[in-house]
């Protein structure tokens, strides 16, 4: 298993689709049956487990908070329940089901219980950069949710609700990160 995982990792990294903190690759992403901390309303409980893992896979905790800490899985669930058209909600649930089915086919267990490297390898088969693909759109919701969240907006990027002055040409180093808005 280890060699296969490494091979997939190498493949993914070569395409620039994956980057992991050192030592993270072999760790399981989440304990089986971990409490989500939120109650799904737009997806089933098993889809919610996949969503929880996928969101953190897309925007993991680094030196800044990850999607899970930022409440993104619940955000995506609320978006599926209260924003998406029925058709799009169905497509998003389909993505979650497909990831889980692939995990079971390859590894005999659910997506959420795989190591991050195994999750990444499966996700990479859907993550082709296609603008209108269900996976691409779901990823977009995750990233919008992350950078719009309070931890995302205020820690991962810079948030200044009342800037006061406008300075048109300053060193990037004075800001350090992108503005949230």
């Amino acid at each position: 298993m280890q060699s296969r995982r490494d091979a997939l990792l190498t493949f993914a990294a070569a395409w620039g689709v994956l980057s992991l903190p050192a030592g993270a690759a072999a760790q399981p992403a989440v304990a089986v049956g971990a409490n989500l901390g939120w109650t799904p309303s737009g997806v089933t409980l098993s889809q919610a487990q996949v969503l929880d893992a996928l969101a953190e896979l897309i925007a993991p905790a680094t030196d800044t908070p990850g999607a899970r800490e930022a409440g993104v899985p619940a955000y995506v669930d609320r978006t599926i329940a209260g924003y998406c058209t029925a058709a799009e909600a169905g497509e998003f649930r389909g993505v979650l089901d497909a990831l889980d089915a692939d995990a079971r086919a390859r590894h005999g267990k659910g997506f959420a219980t795989l190591s991050i490297a195994d999750q990444a390898a499966i996700a990479a088969t859907y993550d082709r950069g296609q603008k209108f693909s269900p996976f691409g759109r779901l990823k977009e919701v995750v990233l919008v949710g992350y950078f719009s969240s309070e931890p995302g907006a205020t820690v991962a990027v810079r948030y200044d609700p009342i800037p006061g002055d406008y300075k048109g040409c300053i060193p990037l180093s004075e800001v350090g990160r992108a503005w949230a808005l």
């Binding site: 620039g16 992991l20 903190p21 924003y83 058209t85 759109r137 977009e140 919008v144 406008y166 300075k167």
Partner: protein, 577 residues
Amino acid sequence: MANLNTRWRQENTYDAIVVGSGMTGGWAAKELSERGLKTLVLERGRMVRHLEDYPTAATHPWEVKYPRAKLPPDELKAKYPVQNRTGYALTEYTQHFFVRDDENPYTEDQPFDWIRGYHVGGRSLLWARQSYRWSDLDFEANAKEGVGVDWPVRYRDIAPWYDYVERYIGVSGQAEGLPQLPDGVFQPPMEMNCVEKVLKAKTEARFPERRVTIGRCAHLTEPTEEQIALGRGKCQHRNMCMRGCPFGAYFSSNAVTLVAAEKTGNFKLRPHSIVTEILYDARKGRASGVRVQDEATGEVMEFYAKVVFLCASALNSTWIMMNSTSRRFPNGFGNGSDQLGRNIMDHHLGVGAMAEAPGYEDRYYSGRRPNGLYIPRFRNLGDAATKRSDYLRGFGYQGGAGRPNWDRNLHAAGLGAARKDELSQPGPWMVRIGGFGEILPHADNRVTLNRDRKDRYGLPTLRFDAGLRGNETAMRRDMKTAAVEMLEAAGFTNVVGYETPSPPGLGIHEMGTARMGRDPKTSVLNAHNQVHECRNVYVTDGACMTSASCVNPSLTYMALTTRACAHAVEAGRRGEL
């Protein structure tokens, strides 16, 4: 009953009635009430009080319900199919300032994007705040070219009123000394960013007739004592203007003119009041007041005054006039010319160019400037060098440079820490300039009253049949070409010209449907915005426009309104109304 009617009439008689509380209605309210006239303002929508009725003014991005604060697709389709056509304006932050299309229908024989806000303050809360003067290049164009009818005014007639309005509302901008875009009373200009300064330097070096300046916008950058006394403050560069400004830093009726009117003690505002017609007293040959249908209760009532100002927005003032029929005016109020509803204009847009600007990756900016660049008209300026053989009039560009934040290419392949870190840094510098082109008046570009289709109040609706024509189409080709050549001359990369459809209305500068002119046979209003055929009715919103220029029109509407108010007060004193 007779006594009751007499009493109602006494209690509901004013010196002046102003219909509408937006950009021009607010000004009419202020000017008339400050000059001592007991003034009633009738607004069809709900009350919006400055500050307290801006529910989203301080909302954080994590406090909204939906991704990017966009409304759900199903809701947009059901309630806002037209209002959403701008693509940017309608969000959770601004939803309460736009009409619901399902409740406010109209008919499009050709596409017409009618973007509306029915509430106190109207679209003065929502406008882009760009404030430019007209010049005689604009006022003389119809006469020189034999298009439409001649404007009955020239720049010298309006210039003092531009001064007056700019000084009061506060306009930030840079004096440029250009005859086609006269300078005004400016507060300090906002700063250009690094890449915009490059565009300016390179454009002006390569094309001497083109000027790149910072937008002139109705924001306070150095408030006057008068503005501070009104409760207004300096622009804080939040760029959340359309939610209502907690600092009163940009001009809106709510923050400025209605506040001033309130202070006079001569001012009364009645929301929920749909003016359905102008009452005409055939014996006196004058309007006696207006009929109102209460938007909430359906109750119909009348209000009376010596003078009526229609400031209900171009198409709603036109609608009121069309719906005001009498033996004297069988085809609509003051419509002996048959010009009412014709010559509808806007600005055509959605065409320009964009590019990347590599080489400034270590530079950024702070603050969200609620303003962009402006490139004033440089075609057909009256000399041989700028003369175009393929079209009349011209266009200006608006645009700017910036670095996209995290919200870029989110669908692109890539997961994990590297992607997250990448999005946490600003993207490449991008530049975009988009044209705003003049639309010529054309008698067959028109709106008519549709008595076969009623709204939920049982009132007739409007029917639109207007579109761009050959002059605009030819101009659009040049708008794209000239934009591309400027961005290329600036040394930017990946320069791409773009053109998207621009149905009339999308500029949200609809105008011209009760035009001013010198001759009652060919125009609805005279040189003072009075209805030729009924002198105590003034129309000072966009309906009055005889041509469109290519600059944003609100400043001119405001200047014309203040001028008309002064005229009305003087004419009233002389017993001429």
